[in-house]
């Protein structure tokens, strides 16, 4: 077996795969944040809690109703997305005319409430979720678990599907137009308030879908969302929220960098993304894909 800088290839590729998977979650979550922010001008602090809810609803469907993983993949985004629509109709709708920071504070409060309820109900030690794709493939340089390969492929499909939907379809063109000039789009006879509601539901559904994908990898834990959302915020600051493709590339890229840091300098693996954020702020304050405003 060859060695690279004194690191066994098993460890290197193993961490690379882990990094790619973390990156997949960064990408999916920052994508949802960007879509929501584009139309609603709200930074959705509840995003992490909604990701956690996705994992929990999948667990409940499996344990209580007997719906398998593949069914959950379809049902969970709809259930949690509907919950998001409810939040938008009851709370967020009333804050659009105010400063952005109220949207942040409101969603922060909602995130605390959701996390608190789940911690009360399920404790904070985490619940196991059976792997729907056990086994794996032995490659020359590493062992590739089937489920992890599936997560990478699925997240790529989801990310590029979203990109296609927004950048290449008629619906997406309405959406992009409403980001620029909601009043004009409304004047052309499109129901913009409903579009905003559904966009929020879509973003939340995306977070929940990521949660289902995460359930068999990480244990289903009420804290999984708040741990992740702060990193995703840093990812969003690095990438800038102006571009869908930027969010995808930044998410995957940072995941891989984080994985490599675990191999070469593990002490910094928790902080590397924040350090990159600091460097990007010094060199390109608007973010890698952002435009200065």
């Amino acid at each position: 077996m060859f060695e690279l800088l004194g690191i066994a290839p098993q460890a290197l590729f193993g961490q690379l795969l882990l990094g790619l998977i973390n990156g997949a979650f960064y990408a999916m979550l920052s994508l949802g944040l960007a879509v929501i922010f584009g139309l609603l001008n709200v930074i959705n602090f509840t995003h992490g809690a909604q990701y956690m809810m996705g994992a929990f609803v999948a667990w409940m469907l499996l344990e209580w109703v007997g719906v398998p993983y593949w069914g959950a993949l379809v049902l969970v985004p709809i259930i949690v997305g509907a919950f998001g629509v409810l939040l938008e109709k009851v709370f967020l709708k009333r804050l659009y005319h105010l400063d952005h920071l109220y949207g942040l504070l409101l969603t922060f409060g909602l995130a605390l409430m959701i996390e608190g309820v789940f911690r009360k109900q399920f404790g904070s030690s985490g619940l196991p979720y059976a792997n729907p794709l056990p086994g794996g493939t032995r490659l020359d340089f590493m062992f590739l678990p089937n489920y992890r390969a599936w997560v990478v492929v699925a997240s790529l499909v989801i990310c590029f599907g979203t990109w296609f939907l927004i950048e290449r379809t008629k619906l997406g063109s309405y959406l992009r137009a409403a980001v620029e000039r909601p009043d004009l789009v409304q004047a052309f006879g499109i129901n913009v308030p409903r579009m905003i509601t559904l966009t929020y539901g879509f973003g939340v559904g995306l977070a929940a879908l990521a949660g289902v994908l995460a359930a068999p990898i990480y244990s289903v834990n009420p804290l999984m969302g708040s741990n992740l959302i702060i990193i995703v915020f840093a990812v969003v600051v690095i990438g800038g929220m102006g571009s869908i493709m930027g969010a995808i590339v930044t998410g995957f890229g940072l995941g891989v960098i984080e994985g490599l840091t675990k191999v070469f300098y593990p002490e910094a693996s928790n902080t590397v993304i924040f350090i990159i954020m600091a460097i990007v702020l010094m060199l390109k304050p608007a973010g890698l894909f952002g435009t200065p405003k």
């Binding site: 930074i43 409060g109 911690r119 009360k120 928790n270 010094m282």
Partner: protein, 317 residues
């Protein structure tokens, strides 16, 4: 509207009244509880300097609070420094950290500013989790209470209370002086209309940075004092929940009001005291308060009272 001069005098009169109450409060209320309220009130006042007077929402103030708590705990316990030097060391380190974090964060505006400060605070959290001197999950425990200035014994809670009250009054007056200075007027101009402040020739970034450093330093003073009072500096002090808590205190009391943060800190600490037995529900209740305040009374307790008072005096006039 009242003239600025009368508002200033009225504020100072209210402050004098509050201080008089605070002087006799230990006769009726447990001093350790009062010290906790004072530390968090100073923390919220320092936070309010940014959100209320410059319009910058920092979601990472725990890094200054907890960072200073660790520094003062370490220098007092391990290096054997006196408490006043411990608090000064904590404050100075928080100011330096504020300079570093502030110069990065002010490069972005609005919502991004909040995300950058949150992320930087998380970086400090992971640093404190891994650095050996913070003792990981245990934190720095049993920080000794040495005599202050080598003279006054602090092992008695009441004696310590008056020191904390003095620190709090100092912090309040620094903030009060700042917001009523020409510097403070420029800060408010930046809050109201940043492009116009720039076009008037003000170096907006320098003003923002100075305000950020001042806020960080006073937050550090509160954190360092809190560490000595409870003889403990732990990860709770640097965690993001702490950053959220100070936002909540300021929001409940009234952002941009002089006394709001004090009232807000009192309300939230009292609530935590009574709800301590409910465990996880505290989180849910705090979240619910956030939601209710943002939806129903965004001005906070003091802000709503002021608005009511102004309506009343206008009707009478």
């Amino acid at each position: 509207m009242m003239k600025a001069g009368t508002t200033k005098n009225r504020d100072l009169q209210i402050f004098a009244g509050l201080m008089a109450l605070a002087l006799i409060a230990p006769l009726a209320i447990y001093p350790v509880f009062l010290m906790k309220v004072l530390c968090f009130a100073l923390f919220a006042l320092a936070f309010n300097l940014l959100i209320g007077y410059v319009g910058l929402l920092s979601f990472g103030h725990a890094m200054f609070f907890g960072g200073a708590a660790y520094i003062s705990g370490h220098v007092v316990k391990v290096w054997g420094w006196s408490p006043e030097m411990g608090i000064i060391a904590g404050t100075a380190c928080a100011a330096l950290l504020g300079l570093a974090a502030g110069s990065l964060a002010i490069r972005r505006q609005g919502i991004y500013f909040a995300m950058v400060t949150l992320a930087l605070a998380q970086m400090v959290f992971f640093f404190c989790l891994q650095a050996p001197f913070t003792k990981g999950e245990d934190g720095i425990q049993a920080i000794p209470r040495r005599p202050v200035l080598g003279l006054f014994d602090l092992s008695d809670d009441r004696a310590f209370y008056y020191l904390v009250l003095g620190i709090f009054a100092f912090g309040f007056l620094v903030i009060w002086r700042t917001i009523h200075s020409p510097f403070g007027q420029v800060l408010k101009a930046i809050r109201e209309n940043e492009p116009r402040a720039i076009s008037l020739g003000y170096r907006v970034d320098q003003y923002k940075l100075l305000a950020f450093v001042l806020s960080a330093a006073l937050t550090g003073m509160a954190g360092a004092t809190k560490a000595l009072v409870f003889q403990l500096a732990s990860l709770t002090d640097v965690a993001w929940q702490m950053s959220g808590e100070v936002v909540l205190m300021t929001l409940v009391g009234g952002m941009g009001t002089v006394f709001g943060p004090i009232i807000g800190a009192g309300v939230i600490i009292t609530m935590q005291n009574y709800l301590a037995g409910f465990g996880e529900w505290v989180l849910v209740i705090q979240g619910a308060i956030f939601v209710v305040v943002v939806m129903a009374f965004r001005k906070g307790i003091v802000g709503e009272i002021q608005a009511w008072w102004q309506r009343r005096s206008r009707n009478q006039a």
